[in-house]
């Protein structure tokens, strides 16, 4: 009992004082915990929130998949072949510090304000964490193991499959986890900014939904519902990646 009391104390106090202060001083628009709950149930029941969320998640997964399919083979190549790394590294280091969201205007210019532009930004955002970690993972493989495999007559492709890939997997898993987290942040940013820049021309998704609540219908409680939804999704995604990759890493004592 005492184990739960301390962790719950501060959140409970904060929510209670938010409610009390909001009721005392806030206007009709003030998002109160009670209003947030009511609006949350309404948004969920009407299907608006689930469908916006599914749209955003679909974009995240497509972009993430594109990023992984490009970044993992490239990272393995860069991590194992020195010449490739030396020559491509300048490019990687030049583009990595460019925040994905800064590319949004170009994405809109090239692909319009719909799903393809959002997917492109997500792919760009997730690409670099996956790439950098894959390179590091491939490099971290014990040279002695590679040499031993070569001595025992394994073909380069077999070495890649049986030695380098398994050795790099833990670090790749880290890259995927970081990449997915960044991808989710990027999609919210992209949808928000598209919403702001396209004058409400609906691109859909949770970010767009929040912008509509801000700019058109001014429903702050609903914005808070969306924020909570963003948080829940981000926790869920992280949990899923950790579970998914743990199965891949069973052989490795942590």
């Amino acid at each position: 009992m005492g184990g739960l009391l301390i962790p719950l104390a501060l959140p409970a106090v904060l929510v209670a004082s938010w409610q009390a202060l909001g009721e005392a001083f806030g206007g009709v628009r003030m998002p109160l915990p009670s209003r947030v709950v009511v609006e949350g149930v309404a948004l969920f029941a009407s299907g608006e929130l689930p469908s916006a969320m599914l749209q955003s998640l679909g974009r995240v997964f497509s972009g993430f998949l594109i990023a992984a399919v490009l970044a993992i083979p490239l990272g393995i190549l860069m991590g194992t072949v020195r010449v490739v790394e030396r020559n491509l590294d300048p490019l990687v280091e030049s583009f990595r510090p460019v925040a994905a969201i800064a590319l949004l205007p170009m994405a809109i210019l090239w692909l319009g304000t719909g799903t393809p532009a959002a997917v492109m930004l997500v792919a760009y955002a997730a690409f670099f964490p996956i790439l950098v970690n894959t390179i590091a993972g491939a490099k971290s493989v014990d040279r002695n193991l590679v040499n031993a495999a070569a001595t025992m007559g394994l073909a380069p492709r077999a070495i890649l499959r049986n030695v380098i890939l398994p050795g790099a997997v833990p670090q790749i898993a880290v890259g995927l986890r970081v990449g997915l987290g960044i991808a989710w942040t990027a999609i919210v940013a992209a949808e928000l900014a598209v919403g702001a820049k396209s004058g409400g021309g609906g691109s859909g998704g949770i970010g767009q939904m929040m912008f509509v609540f801000y700019a058109y219908s001014i429903e702050l409680s609903r914005i808070v519902v969306c924020m909570a939804a963003v948080g829940v999704v981000s926790l869920t995604l992280d949990w899923l990646v950790r579970r998914g990759t743990r199965r891949l890493l069973k052989w490795k004592a942590t």
């Binding site: 800064a102 210019l109 919210v188």
Partner: protein, 252 residues
């Protein structure tokens, strides 16, 4: 071969590919060739626009880092040294942390309006979490024997904090500062894109609306350059402040 030569060679090949793509596209509004972009960079650099917007974004970044550090470093040190405080505050941190700073933009836009307040708030919020967690981890990792030794030698709590805990926590704190900058820089650009009257993010979206693509690309490049230089400066600061720290090889 010297790294500089390799760098230049790679970038030259990249510029050639870009040029070829621009020729194939045949529409300078969609994809201007490198020469046009270079001219645009010179244009905005000469009339001072480039530096002015970059300076505003960088100052905002620095201000919000200072705010975030002022709140989280004392809190993190306290949480790292007091188990009870950590148990009380940690749930709030864990509830807020998954909500990205970017998701705060609509609400913050309503509260702060368009101006300095919005990007600074978003950035400070984003940077606060890595900073707090890094400080807690740093304070926890302090060698207990050092703390005990200091206590035996008669130092009071404040002195132990200042002379033992803070120096020991500093390397971890500084690494988390770099993490905070990396995530916060993205947040600043996003916030400026949506609601600021100036700054790099604003310049990018302004020139997009004007359909001056070369300048859009010039400012996008500036986002990368400023972010890179800021990180470089922080790394130098790390080396200078904590020369004893082992390079963890942290790559962001």
């Amino acid at each position: 071969m010297a790294p500089v030569v390799v760098y230049l060679r790679t970038m030259a090949v990249f510029a050639l590919v870009w040029w070829a793509a621009a020729l194939l596209t045949g529409n300078p509004m969609l994809l201007p060739d490198p020469l046009r972009v270079a001219r645009a960079v010179v244009d905005v650099a000469v009339d001072g626009e480039l530096l002015a917007h970059a300076a505003i974004s960088v100052v905002r970044l620095t201000a919000s880092l200072a705010i975030a550090a002022a709140v989280t470093v004392p809190l993190g040190l306290a949480m790292g040294t007091s188990r009870t405080l950590e148990r009380v505050v940690d749930p709030i941190v864990e509830i807020l942390r998954p909500i990205s700073g970017i998701a705060w933009i609509p609400l913050a836009l309503f509260i702060f309006g368009v101006g300095h307040g919005l990007p600074i708030f978003i950035m400070a919020y984003t940077a606060a979490f890595p900073l707090l967690l890094g400080t807690i981890a740093g304070a926890k990792n302090v060698d207990r024997r050092l703390v005990d030794a200091a206590r035996v030698m008669g130092l009071d709590r404040a002195a132990i904090m200042r002379r033992v805990v803070i120096p020991a926590a500093l390397p971890s704190l500084l690494v988390s500062l770099r993490l905070g900058v990396a995530s916060g820089w993205t947040a600043v650009i996003a916030a400026e894109l949506v609601g600021a009257p100036n700054g790099l993010g604003y310049a990018i979206s302004w020139y997009r609306e004007m359909l001056v693509t070369p300048k859009v690309i010039a400012f996008i490049a500036m986002v990368g350059v400023s972010g890179y230089l800021y990180d470089l400066a922080l790394r130098r600061l790390n080396d200078w402040l904590t020369p004893w720290a082992v390079d963890t090889g942290a790559r962001l």
